[in-house]
């Protein structure tokens, strides 16, 4: 594509969104940004976001909101404890806790993006230490370089990552009998996509990776198992080794496009791929900047496309977003992250255990009778005053009162605005108002219980499954 028309795309669809009277910066746009790039916004964050304006608000997302309640070294200690105890549950809970209470939600979201992209499962790795180390790698490179010629970047790090080496059978990739597992997946799922390589490229690349072993939990190059013969991968011939192959793959034009497409799908639109001109402009910019994820993500989040109707509330909420987002919006404190991780697992998303090397399918695949009932049951338990793992951790009536909403109609509007951008059919709004007014049998704090029920109903609405 000609440079001029790329510039035109960058000037229009990919240009930073600016508020206009017909398309103002408002709470809905702040909520959208926080849904996609963080894990949902609290009422105060919505207020602040409106004041900050689009530029300041995206700055805040890109930089994190600084010190969360928990210090970095405390998070590190928690992970170490979970790993030392061999507790996968606690390690899952630890990551949920980072998403929920950490100071930089975007980093956690991208760490998850990479976990989904380089999907590695404890199912086979069977080593929490390695899973945790890989997780820290994803965090370190969350907004780093996917590939950079001098130092290698994330793609090279992952290729030498012990969990990945175990996951894709590096130790059986021997000179006499190459194992194609990693060679195949780096081309098919990690960097190029089907159609951009041949079966012969895979076989030759596997030979280049021979001898890239993992011993005692570390990457180790075993020269005696490495095939030093001539190989041809993607048109390049020579005595290639694994590093050469990673470089050859990463520098294919298809590689930048592959990552751009996936980021676009994740942040902007999971239903339709980017237009060719948008893809080309983003991929070109990404390559020029040494595959800098910060540039790619920031450009995407600031863009007119991101704030367009094609993106707005057109994505289906993942279990992580559904559960963590609920607790953040309702300002739950002392909610057990381990219990939240267990709910996610029931809803089809078990951290550290993606269903296979292709990661989670997302979108409509999240939704079926069992998962919808699971979501509805979570909506019930998360605001319950008694019973279940979250009893009494969230008090919706108190939250509304804290923000000055006390009458029934104020309370209904407050929760609809906070949770679904105030956007439900008129009949549904009437139905919700009616249910808030109708009495509850069983005594207790009757009004508090009625507000809990209202919130349960809003969380169970079809609208709340949109992200």
């Amino acid at each position: 594509m000609a440079a001029a028309s790329q510039t035109a795309i960058l000037d229009t669809q990919l240009a930073a969104y600016e508020p206009m009277p017909a398309n103002p910066w408002d709470r809905r746009k702040v909520a959208h940004l926080f849904r996609r790039a963080a894990f949902g916004a609290t009422w105060s964050e919505l207020d602040e976001g409106v004041k900050l304006g689009p530029r300041g608000c995206v700055d805040r997302i890109m930089n994190g909101h600084g010190a969360g309640a928990i210090r970095e070294e405390d998070f590190t200690a928690m992970a170490r404890t979970a790993v030392a105890a061999g507790s996968e549950r606690n390690l899952q809970g630890w990551w949920v806790f980072r998403m929920l209470a950490g100071g930089h939600p975007l980093i956690e979201r991208l760490a998850f993006f990479w976990h989904d992209h380089f999907a590695t499962s404890q199912e086979k790795v069977a080593n929490l230490n390695l899973m945790h180390r890989q997780n820290e790698l994803f965090r370190r490179f969350a907004l780093g370089h996917f590939w950079v010629r001098e130092s290698g970047g994330l793609l090279m790090e992952v290729t030498r990552d012990p969990a990945m080496l175990v996951w894709l059978d590096s130790n059986s990739n021997r000179r006499a009998a190459p194992n194609e597992n990693y060679a195949r997946e780096i081309m098919e799922l990690f960097a190029l996509g089907i159609g951009n390589y041949s079966e012969k490229d895979i076989r030759e690349a596997a030979r280049a990776f021979t001898g890239w072993f993992v011993t005692k939990n570390e990457f180790r190059f075993v020269a005696s198992e490495h095939d030093t013969g001539e190989k041809t991968v993607l048109g390049r011939t020579g005595n290639l080794d694994g590093g050469d192959v990673v470089r050859i793959i990463a520098e294919q034009p298809a590689a930048a496009e592959f990552i751009v497409r996936k980021i676009f799908r994740y942040f902007v639109n999971e239903n339709d791929p980017p237009e060719p001109a948008v893809l080309a402009a983003l991929a070109a910019g990404f390559r020029e900047r040494d595959y800098d994820m910060r540039w790619l993500v920031e450009t995407t989040l600031r863009s007119n496309l991101f704030f367009s109707l094609a993106s707005f509330r057109q994505k289906i909420t993942s279990p992580l977003d559904f559960t963590i987002g609920t607790v953040r919006r309702l300002e739950g404190s002392r909610v057990s992250p381990v219990a939240l991780a267990e709910v996610c697992s029931k809803l089809g998303q078990t951290l550290f255990r993606p269903p296979n090397v292709a990661g989670w399918e997302e979108g409509r695949a999240w939704i079926n009778s069992t998962t919808l009932l699971g979501r509805s049951n979570f909506a019930q338990s998360i605001v319950a005053s008694r019973g279940g793992p979250f009893a009494g951790r969230i008090d919706p009536a108190a939250l509304a009162a804290k923000h000055g909403r006390t009458s029934d109609s104020e309370i209904t509007d407050f929760f609809l605005d906070l949770l679904v951008d105030g956007d439900v059919p008129r009949e549904t709004r009437e139905q919700l108002a009616k249910s808030l007014a109708s009495p509850i049998s069983g005594g207790g704090d009757a009004r508090g219980e009625r507000v809990r029920r209202l919130v349960q109903l809003v969380l169970s609405s079809p609208e709340y499954n949109l992200c």
Binding site: P355, I367, N368, T370, S376, S381, R452, S460, S461, E463
Partner: protein, 405 residues
């Protein structure tokens, strides 16, 4: 929409909530044919896979009593001829398989002889993975044959749980690249937890038709989920069956499956396992108990399905990762072997033996020789029963067997 379907929705949603909104049963549900299940349509057919884990001793399951070599190889483990449930004058079923023998008499059981694959692995893990992935490749794929099948457009129906597993860890057979298959332990997983808001209020929030595509998808599925769970709860309370299921774990699972099939859930693949077949020592009593658990549970299951009018659209299939060696070992048990029989049960199968019992004289390194590749069975089940093209699912063409009557 059938009357059954309409009343199903109306009772399960307790439609007063809908009526109070001036709504009738939503139009889209008219198009759902789930409850009006019709055995003639492959789209309503169900398969129930029963995995016998550990390597079932096929030779003492379908017993070739008519061959002297049986008694010669099985001295401590020989089942007396007069106790065997004879299929013909050469072979018959283990006496504990009384339930299956009755199904055979009623024309509801097929015995598939000599099933296996070349260069059989005697590793539990490798061989089970081969059966699950339907692949013999050095490096096995990381998805399973049923997982791949449910990813096929022919098998996909939005919002329908495509497959359900009863038990803990999901078997590789059900791992696919599409949705995650839920593993259930009980119907509690389908229950709306009692809260202050009842099903009626929840349904009312989702009752208004949405217009946007994604939102409409969510709204319809939400309503369907409530209807399904309502139906299942009603069913759990009222499921009336004159059939006495035995008190075993497999029977419990199969009873749940029968209830779910009857509930109109629309799921087409169910999976349950029975463990303990790795009988290296003192095999006789343990194996007899396992076969009894299997036979009695499957018999009760088929009777129950028959009572509720679903027998003709259900096919139950057993398999094990391998058979065991023809010659018993020195500790009154058997070691890992190969070649085995499979059972198929259902109202529509072609009853009786399919294929010959493998010869006891012509062995492959002490093991029965297989004559039919297990993927031929899969291909036949996929194509003939489920209406799912098998070539891509199985990674090749396999000869199809005539399994249906």
């Amino acid at each position: 929409m059938s009357t059954t379907r309409r009343s199903f929705l109306e009772t399960s949603l307790k439609s007063s909530a809908l009526v109070s909104l001036g709504l009738t049963v939503p139009e889209f549900l008219h198009r759902s044919a789930r409850a009006a299940a019709d055995a003639k349509s492959p789209a309503d057919r169900v398969i129930v896979v029963i995995q016998l884990s550990g390597g079932n001793d096929s030779l003492n399951t379908v017993i070739p009593f008519g061959d002297d070599l049986y008694a010669k190889n099985r001295t401590a483990l020989r089942v007396p001829t007069d106790q065997i449930k004879k299929i013909d004058d050469y072979c018959g079923l283990h006496p504990s398989l009384d339930g299956l023998a009755k199904l055979l008499e009623d024309g509801q059981l097929a015995v598939l002889q000599g099933i296996g694959y070349p260069n059989a692995s005697r590793s539990h893990f490798r061989s089970m993975d081969i059966w699950h992935t339907a692949s013999l490749a050095e490096k096995l794929p990381n998805d399973g044959w049923l997982g791949r099948a449910i990813g096929r457009p022919e098998m996909r129906r939005e919002g329908i749980v495509p497959a359900l597993h009863f038990g803990g860890k999901l078997p590789l057979a059900l791992v696919g690249r599409s949705t995650e298959v839920p593993s259930l332990n009980s119907l509690a997983d389908f229950k709306l937890q009692p809260g202050t808001a009842g099903r009626e209020q929840l349904a009312a929030v989702a009752a208004t038709e949405r217009t946007d595509g994604t939102l409409q998808f969510l709204q319809r599925n939400t309503l369907e989920a409530y209807a399904t769970s309502g139906r299942i709860e009603e069913m759990a309370k009222n499921y009336n069956t004159p059939i006495n299921y035995p008190g075993t774990e497999l029977a419990r699972k199969l009873k749940l499956i029968a209830q779910l099939i009857d509930s109109g859930l629309g799921t087409r693949i169910y999976y349950a396992s029975l463990d303990g077949f790795d009988t290296h020592a003192n095999q006789l009593p343990a194996h007899a108990n396992l076969l009894k658990e299997l036979g009695d549970a499957v018999k009760a299951f088929m009777d129950d399905l028959g009572h509720h009018g679903h027998r003709d659209r259900v096919l139950a299939m057993t398999f094990s990762e391998f058979g065991r060696r023809v010659k018993e070992n020195g500790s009154r048990g058997t070691d890992h072997g190969s070649g085995a029989a499979m059972f198929l049960a259902g109202g529509k199968i072609k009853p009786g033996q399919i294929g010959k019992h493998p010869s006891l004289a012509d062995l492959d390194d002490g093991d029965l020789k297989f004559h039919t590749d297990f993927r031929s069975v899969y291909a036949s089940v996929l194509e003939e029963w489920l209406g799912c093209p098998s070539r891509e699912v199985l990674g090749g063409e396999f000869t199809r067997l005539k399994l249906l009557a």
